[in-house]
Amino acid sequence: MDLSLSEKETAFRNELLDWLAANPSGQPSGPGQDEQFEHRRAWQRRLASGGWSAVHWPVEHGGRAASLTESAIFFEEIARAGAPLPANVLGLLLAGPTLMQCGTPEQRDRFLQPIVTGDEIWCQGFSEPEAGSDLASLRTRAVLDGDTWVLNGQKLWTSYARYARWCMCLARSDTDAPKHKGLTYFLLDMKQEGVRVRPLRDITGAAHFNEVFLDNALVPRDLVLGGVGNGWRTALTTLSNERSGLAFFHQVQMRQLLDRLAAVAVARGSFADLRVKDALGELYTRVEALRLTAYRGLATIERHGQPGPESAVTKLMWSATNQQLTQLAVDVLGPDALQEGPGWGYELLRSKGNSIEGGTTEILKSTVAERVLSLPRSR
């Protein structure tokens, strides 16, 4: 059992830290989301120029063939440096790996390079108004017309859709097949007449997500990924790649938020209140438990080639802990934590999405019960 970095991992980390020190991410030019996104796009270009954009990808596709642990180190260290996620995080973590596993050589040649540089941003068109947790019931229709698929329907909760050039779009290509069998995975060009994007204002007042309306959107036949009717399997490939790197980024961000809160608590004298001290102690305990559980998850994947029970519980731990943290901030800071705008008020509201995005807590608990504990399927 070893929690320390190997020589190779230490060398990787040192090289990264040197590079980060010489290449600070800087700040967005303004508070708006467009400015923030452009900042992240510029940040990704910088990462790419130093060879740090797609560390977990194979060298032939512009990566460093980083191990799982090295990839975790990368996400931890950029968070620790106060840098944002690269703009094309969905391309790097989801679209790219899915293309490498399921794509044709032509698709890989066409799409992978612009993902690394951030020149082509990707979004994920899975969820729909009537297909959230029950994803396979999605209704967007795809009909083949000559050599072109014609898509009609609506996608929801689509992050980055406003900025994306391409969409990993799951649609129903066969209405007669059973619901998991009639799906096809399309590489959809977002810059066309048949695609309309509407920002979706969320609980925070900002628009992190979008609605995407497909009205005779066109996809050439050769931009089906993983074969017609294989969409569910291809989508599972995407989803299985999802949170590996992000978990480490978010875990560090949560620790930073907690450190900020603890520093304020000490500065204001609230730390003398045993209830506050106890709550802070509990949060540090939970944050550390999450970090160590994530490391155990990596070890299981390295050993068995697939995630174990640890990986199944980290999202549950993260979302609950982040919500607990932002609520404690209100107790410690009082009305100061309830100001509109960036700050604790925003964090409080934003954290409410943590237990919904990427699988609701309820769905994840059912998944854990069925897949990890082998309990009978529940409804």
Binding site: L3, G281, R296, A299, P309, L375
Partner: protein, 333 residues
């Protein structure tokens, strides 16, 4: 980094589990707890297999292995709820090994390793160990107070039995002058707390396993009760607790062997979480078993009882949370 047991460590854990599954059935647990006896037959076997020798240095007749390996045994013994004095004996050896003089080590470690001496330990306040496991029958008691430790024997100690709800162990209040260990005992005591926490991880895992088996089997409304989300989600919550607790205990055990600089903090983190996790998981196990869980006959309560005692054996979770808060806020302020 590879934060998982090595093949050798897994082997130790699996061998221990297999042996205990054979020797220490739930019926046997009940028999010893109900009759307030000890499983001396099992203990003799474990001594023969070298379990108490595991963490003792080779120069003192032990196997020279670390806290991680001892943690594997404590984990399995906690799960099986075996009525054997492993924890106290291993703890006494860790304390003497870490804080004792050369003479004290020579005098005690070989006899703790070969089972000749039954050891135990206790956290003391104002000179009194309030909750000393197996204090009534130990040959050697190490009391720890504010980072200092002293050795007592039945000849020098006043031992007063305490009748706790955990009938798998005989607890005692212990006072007396004793013989001081010369070196600082804070880190050795942290190593002991890792074993206590490991025991709780074992009993959490075991009660989760029993609960999962039960809710798959028990039927109401024409289906297994585990098919009801309210029950399934309770089990998922138990798993979160088990995994989080295991991670923190593994982290503390690793620090105990490899990173003494972070051990105090890691041990506090583990104790802060695991005590409450053990309370929650064992309570949840009783709840998920419904009426059966509340019966004497189900035996679940033996694990719940032990969890309650283990959770306060080296300080209650709230105490450790305060230590965690102090340690981390020291970094940020």
């Amino acid at each position: 980094m590879h934060f998982a047991l090595t093949d050798d460590q897994r082997e130790i854990k699996q061998t221990a589990r297999a042996l205990l599954a054979e020797r220490c059935s739930a019926a046997r647990v009940a028999e010893h707890a109900d009759g307030r006896g000890h499983d001396s037959q099992l203990w003799d076997e474990l001594v023969g297999l070298g379990w108490p020798a595991l963490g003792v240095p080779e120069e003192h007749g032990g196997l020279g292995l670390g806290v991680v390996e001892a943690m594997c045994l404590a984990d399995e013994l906690g799960g099986a709820l075996a009525s054997v004095p492993y924890l106290g004996t291993a703890a006494a050896a860790l304390l003497i090994r870490g804080a004792g003089s050369a003479d004290q080590k020579r005098a005690w470690l070989p006899r703790l390793a070969n089972g000749e001496v039954l050891g135990t330990f206790g956290m003391a306040r104002d000179g009194q160990g309030e909750l000393v496991p197996e204090g009534t029958r130990a040959d050697l008691i190490v009391l720890v107070e504010k980072g200092r430790a002293k050795l007592l024997t039945p000849a020098t100690a006043k031992v007063e039995p305490v009748d706790t709800i955990d009938r798998t162990r005989r607890y005692a209040k212990v006072t007396g002058e004793g013989e001081s260990l010369p070196d600082d005992a804070a880190l050795p005591a942290a190593r002991v707390s890792v074993l206590v926490a490991a025991e709780m991880v074992g009993l959490c895992q075991r009660t989760l396993d029993m609960t999962v088996a039960y809710v798959k089997d028990r039927r109401q409304f024409e289906r297994p009760v585990g098919a009801f989300q309210a029950v399934a989600h309770r089990c998922a919550d138990m798993l979160v607790d088990v995994e989080a607790a295991r991670s923190l205990v593994y982290g503390a055990a690793w620090a105990a062997d490899v990173a003494p600089g972070t051990l105090a903090r890691s041990a506090a983190l583990a104790m802060a979480y695991v005590g409450d996790a053990a309370r929650r998981v064992t309570s949840s196990a009783v709840q998920a078993h419904g009426g059966i869980g509340f019966t004497w006959e189900s035996g679940l309560h033996w694990w719940l009882r032990r969890a309650q005692l283990d959770a306060v054996l080296v300080g209650a979770p709230g105490h450790h949370r305060q230590r965690v808060a102090d340690a981390f806020t020291g970094d940020v302020s």
